[in-house]
Symmetry: C2
Subunit: 190 residues, 2 copies
């Protein structure tokens, strides 16, 4: 592999290991050294890519969020699709390791000044992109009064469902809630 | 004050200090000693009431959640009320120090085995009670298909709105989302 490709591959391994580490061990258990070890990368190489712990973990959450956004768009290549399928796919964004990792980062940022500004900015960027995807795939006409807030409230619900899945497996209840809210959204956006 | 009353007052001071401490400093910064100091109680007295850190903080979140439930019912003594007012009051449950404290406890519990079982059980109890209040005050007829899931999804949305308020002041956006979803809920539950 050319040097540049190897460097990119190392970076990617570090980012993926960082999200997994955050999701499993939380912010307190997530250090550059722990991630380097998990990724099979030397500590020096990890620090070359990410000088600080904050750099590594905010970059990791952003990278994985972008990957998931791309995957979501690829699921519906024709744009607006069946609303129940889109609602289910959007809610799925909030029930996996990425959401757990992001949640640990948000909560840590609420008490740590070095993190707060960066995570706030990251969250705004990721939130805008998710909103854009949701509007597109749900075929929502934001020029209609209330349509924007309907989509926003639905994404807030999706985040709440992610939270409800943190300590217990909430799959069965979630499926029923999602089915009902997909109908509510469908009626409201029609 | 009789001894028993003094003991109850001390306990209450500890519980309120514990929620404030969790909300401000997170789980890592929340110890029995820190709470005792904040409450102006000796460490020995604190440990008499709450032998372990887990005892203190789960009891604190439960106590404050009960206080808030009672306050919420007292806001609408006549039972079912104007849905927009009820929706706003329910969402308010998730934007203050209690929600921040509970969030810190949930997230810590997701990585700590001593906490997980207790917080899971606490969360189920508090969640059931909040659902019951929401059903009552929204005047939802749970025998109608979908009504239960409409209310559940709304409470998930309220939790998601709490999360969105963690790092930034989300008041203005939240008010618009709440206004829109109060209308959608009203139509759906009518």
């Amino acid at each position: 592999m050319p040097k540049q490709d190897r460097s990119r591959a190392t970076r990617q391994r570090l980012l993926e290991a960082a999200v997994a580490c955050l999701a499993e061990h939380g912010w307190a258990g997530s250090t550059v050294a722990a991630v380097a070890e998990r990724a099979g990368v030397s500590r020096g190489a990890a620090q070359h890519h990410f000088p600080t712990r904050e750099d590594l973990f905010t970059a990791a959450v952003e990278y994985v969020a972008e990957e998931r956004s791309t995957a979501l768009r690829d699921l519906f290549p024709g744009g607006p699709a069946d609303r129940r399928a889109v609602v289910t796919a959007l809610v799925d964004l909030y029930t996996g390791p990425l959401f757990r990792a992001a949640l640990h980062l948000w909560v840590a940022a609420s008490n740590e000044d070095q993190l707060r500004a960066r995570v706030t900015e990251l969250e705004a960027r990721v939130g805008r992109e998710t909103h854009r995807i949701a509007v597109d795939l749900l075929g929502a006409d934001e020029s209609r009064p209330g349509a924007r807030e309907t989509v926003q409230g639905f994404l807030d619900m999706a985040r709440g469902l992610g939270l409800a899945n943190l300590l217990t497996d909430d799959t069965a209840r979630r499926a029923r809630v999602v089915a009902q809210w997909a109908d509510l959204l469908d009626e409201s956006l029609r």
